[in-house]
């Protein structure tokens, strides 16, 4: 029998904040309902005994991949900043981080 987990609306709010998602009240209601349905569905995996099974994080056996530590030209600053919503002094501009 699958283990039943329920996710409260408060937990949904907490997860949303971890993911930096602002949700409307409607979205919170809908996600609480949908996420609980989906978690129920995930419960199916508990049918399988996997104690001795190695997890697969990647299907190909790649170990650390190195390249020579050679000097290469950087991307031009103006290219890198070309898509930025706000630029200040050759930097990405953001709202004030530190109080003065």
């Amino acid at each position: 029998m699958a283990r039943r987990v329920t996710l409260s609306r408060e937990q949904v709010e907490q997860v949303a904040f971890l993911a930096r998602l602002e949700l409307t009240d409607d979205e919170k209601d809908r996600l609480t309902e949908h996420l609980n349905q989906i978690l129920d569905h995930f419960g199916k995996l508990q049918e399988l005994e996997t104690e001795a099974v190695e997890p697969t994080s990647h299907v190909i056996p790649v170990e650390n991949v190195f390249r020579p530590d050679a000097e290469r030209p950087s991307m031009p600053v103006e290219d890198v900043l070309a898509n930025a919503p706000e630029v200040q002094d050759d930097c990405f501009g953001v709202p004030r981080v530190v109080e003065t």
Binding site: V53, P55, N83
Partner: protein
Amino acid sequence: MADTNLAALTLREAHELLKTKQVTSRELTEAVLRRIEAVDNKVKAFVSVTSEIALERAEAADRKIASGEPIGPLTGAPIAIKDNMCTRGVLTTCSSKILYNYKPIYDATVVERLADAGAVMVGKTNLDEFAMGSSTENSGFFPTHNPWNLAAAPGGSSGGSTASVAADECLAALGSDTGGSIRQPASFCGVVGLKPTYGRVSRYGLVAFASSLDQIGPVTKDVTDAALLMNVIAGKDPCDSTSLDVPVPDYTKALVPDVKGLRIGVPKEYFGMGTTAEVADSVWQAIELLRSLGAEYRETSMPNTEYGLPTYYIIAPSEASSNLARYDGVRYGLRGKSAPDPVTMFLKTRDEGFGAEVKQRIMIGTYALSAGYYDAYYLKAQKVRTLLRQDFERAFEEFDVLISPTSPTVAFGLGERADDPFAMKLADVCTIPANLAGIPAISIPCGFHNGLPIGLQIMAPGLGEEVALRVAYAFEQNTDYHKRKPTLG
């Protein structure tokens, strides 16, 4: 030659005409652009049409041809690119509002390889936002329509690519496949779609969704063209450490209509998960045809298949929640309305920029990876992923290929499954296992029901693209499903 004929050409056919100077790339490209102009208001396959760039590249191809230099099979060929692959200076949106204005400063490796091969990019195709979906209805901009029935979904997430190929709005296209996103829409649109072995094609410049599953592949009008595109896009790339350092064969050498002695496995579980009678009948007829050509088949069981869907819906959103953390309104794309501090800015940017499906998957992934739940969800799913891989390893000890439906049904109606979190995902039950196992799989048209195409899936062992192509080619040589054209009604 009439316009419609030029736009309807395959890559191989166009190459013959270009090489023998019966047609120029400019004529070919103009025909394709006119075709887009004429039908894309109905199909809505493209997010951007890059006419200017296309004509420039067509003229460059024509100069090369005129100079007598040897040309490759893609020189001068109009090709469409899914809008989640970076194109330098050309809008790359992932069909998301959060990237509505993003112009990459570099080309994806596949885009660079196509350009080096002389291909002509005609535009960027629509997708489910960040490739999350199975109908292209989750596009942040507009849904794409199935050329075989405009009220039906084209499948997804590469629905723009498959619809554009089916509607002759390009000669071929690139798609990406994380859980079936090339094969399922190829099946719905009656075209050929190949998901290569994980690592066979570089992912550099493919906007990441689920990095351990994502793979780029061809969407084409026939199997020959899939081989031609693979010859160009496959191979090791120093910019993608997960790309395989294995020699790339000439895939056209696999195009031999011979399946004598080939051992086909037919996993019975793939016919159980909501497969309609019409789809099952067409797939069985295809298997019988292959047997009449000298192959042998046997039914087999892959007992963990039913766990593929929940496994995928833990792993893919987990990886996505991490990959999509980069959209914060700082370096590119949308920035949320004026915010007093950075955290509020992140919250507003992501609220305004992401659609409902993307938010839901980020939520699932964030939860599955969060402290206290990691073992129960993410780790568990990774272990079940191992069991699914072992199912394939066992099967491929006995069989050269596995054959199944690509999707349990033909294309469903636009809007029909949009509100149900599960009905939509069931469209991917037959395609997800190949991504989890990292193996190649191709979908080819094998029949029609109510005027909508049915797709046959051929799965092969890792790096077994050639055997999948050979079986697909043998089938295609003995049928004409791939030659049928939609009427766009």
